[in-house]
């Protein structure tokens, strides 16, 4: 009996149910059921007053009103149940991704560390061929770790548990360090990365670790999708170019990552920030990539009080930009 009442009160606790499914009130199944209930009552009253004008027979009137009420009740029950099942499936999916990603992290870390020991030389030097294969193993482990990390971030975004540790910092410093880290990749991709930081650009207010992820993602895409353009446009061995620009404007600091790569087809542009989306012209050349990077980047920038966007022309290049709120008067 106690459990029955507990279940009953849980079901009618609209705010509790919204929290459980992590939905706004207007999409919460229980709230929708209450709304439909009120619609039903209004429909019954309306049917009564309309019916009484045309036919004063009380039995017929009662039959019409009850039939209408029953029909509306059944339809609203079916709709709300469907919503509830969808909400539950979505919640389970997010929870599953969260749990699995956490569980996969440990064995991946184990493998990464074992490979590090094998290549460190502390167990003796490996042969050249072995070192080559260990390198491949290490790269693929890092790929898997990146994917798991992205999946975890996505599940936190969806559970609105993405927490940003905000502080004031210079975006230019992060960009400089990142460009240095990208030297080996840009060299092997035949791409030159240049920077253009305006004087007196203020600090930004945001989570430096998360913003680093955003910039890393944009820079990685810019470098990766330039290599193919040289083949497509037959520029021979000319290096591709990526420019990272940072400047202050009004209450914001802007960052632009400009490349002269393959560009994004017009018909794909509206999907570019969607989860798992990868444009056709990219998938033709490279099957790897999760399609989560830009979705995560957009959420991080939106949560930071900024905005992200892009302009692109297929075959000519793309400019991705984002802006973040400027911090104090401290300028570089």
């Amino acid at each position: 009996m106690k459990r029955f009442f507990k279940n009953f009160f849980d079901q009618i606790n609209v705010i509790g149910q919204c929290r459980k499914y992590n939905l706004p009130l207007r999409q919460c199944p229980q709230f929708l059921f209450l709304v439909m209930g009120n619609v039903n009552v209004v429909a019954m009253i309306t049917a009564y007053f309309v019916g009484i004008r045309y036919d004063s027979d009380p039995e017929k009137l009662m039959l019409v009103v009850i039939s209408l009420a029953t029909a509306i009740f059944i339809i609203s029950f079916i709709i709300v149940r469907s919503f509830e099942q969808l909400a539950e499936a979505n919640r389970l999916k997010t929870e599953f991704v969260n749990i699995v990603s956490h569980q996969i992290r440990s064995p991946l870390t184990n493998l990464k560390w074992i490979v590090e020991i094998l290549t460190s030389g502390i167990l003796g030097n490996a042969e050249k061929k072995q070192t080559e294969y260990f390198k491949i193993l290490k790269e693929n482990l890092e790929r898997m770790q990146k994917l798991v990390s992205e999946l975890l971030t996505v599940s936190r975004i969806e559970a609105t548990k993405l927490i940003l540790k905000k502080e004031n910092f210079f975006l230019q410093n992060i960009a400089n360090d990142l460009v240095k880290e990208f030297e080996p990749i840009s060299k092997s991709s035949n791409v030159k990365i240049k920077t253009d930081f305006a004087d007196k650009t203020p600090q930004v207010n945001g989570d430096p670790f998360q913003v680093l992820q955003v910039l890393e993602n944009l820079l990685y895409n810019a470098v990766r999708y330039i290599g193919f353009a040289s083949g497509d446009i037959a520029r021979g061995k000319e290096p591709g170019e990526v420019l990272v620009k940072i400047y202050g404007k009004g209450r914001f600091v802007f960052c632009e990552v400009i490349d002269n790569g393959i560009g994004i087809p017009k018909e794909d542009q509206k999907y570019i920030f969607q989860k798992f989306f990868r444009a056709d012209n990219v998938r033709r050349y490279q099957t790897g990539g999760s399609g989560l990077g830009l979705y995560i980047a957009k959420n991080i920038i939106d949560h930071s009080g900024g905005k992200i966007g892009f302009t692109s022309c297929q075959g000519k290049g793309t400019t991705f930009w984002f802006k973040l709120p400027a911090a104090t008067n401290k300028k570089m």
Partner: protein, 124 residues
């Protein structure tokens, strides 16, 4: 030689970290659960503790609480090494007085060795 107590239930991680830090000149003592970790720390206080959070018998949070209450162990530097990376977990551990918090999947063994060396003031 500096002694490091590594409290971690994953045997492979124990092996990897012990091997690497051992090659870097440290003596690593292993504990595969929280309760054993606390007992070993009390019997023979190490120079540094590497501590996981999700542990059998006693969680990392409880281990930390016990170590900080005990006169013999309260001033031993503690580095948390875990895969939990939520800000709430990090803040909670920092408030309990750990030296630093590292997310395992984001660290290389070399990074961990560098941080251990820094924490011990460059001594081995």
């Amino acid at each position: 030689m500096k002694n490091i107590l590594f409290i971690e239930d994953e045997a492979v991680m124990q092996k990897a970290v012990s091997e690497f830090l051992g090659a870097n000149g440290y003596r690593v003592i292993s504990a595969l659960d929280g309760e054993l970790g606390v007992n070993l720390a009390r019997q023979n206080p190490p120079d540094l503790i590497l501590l996981d959070i999700i542990l059998p018998k006693k969680s990392g949070f409880d281990v930390l609480e016990d170590l900080k209450k005990d006169e013999k162990t309260k001033s031993i530097p503690i580095i948390v090494l875990t895969n939990l990376s939520q800000m709430s977990d990090v803040s909670k551990m920092m408030e309990m007085g750990i030296t630093t918090y590292l997310v395992k999947s984001e660290q290389s063994l070399q990074n961990i060795a560098n941080i251990v060396e820094q924490t011990l003031g460059g001594e081995k």
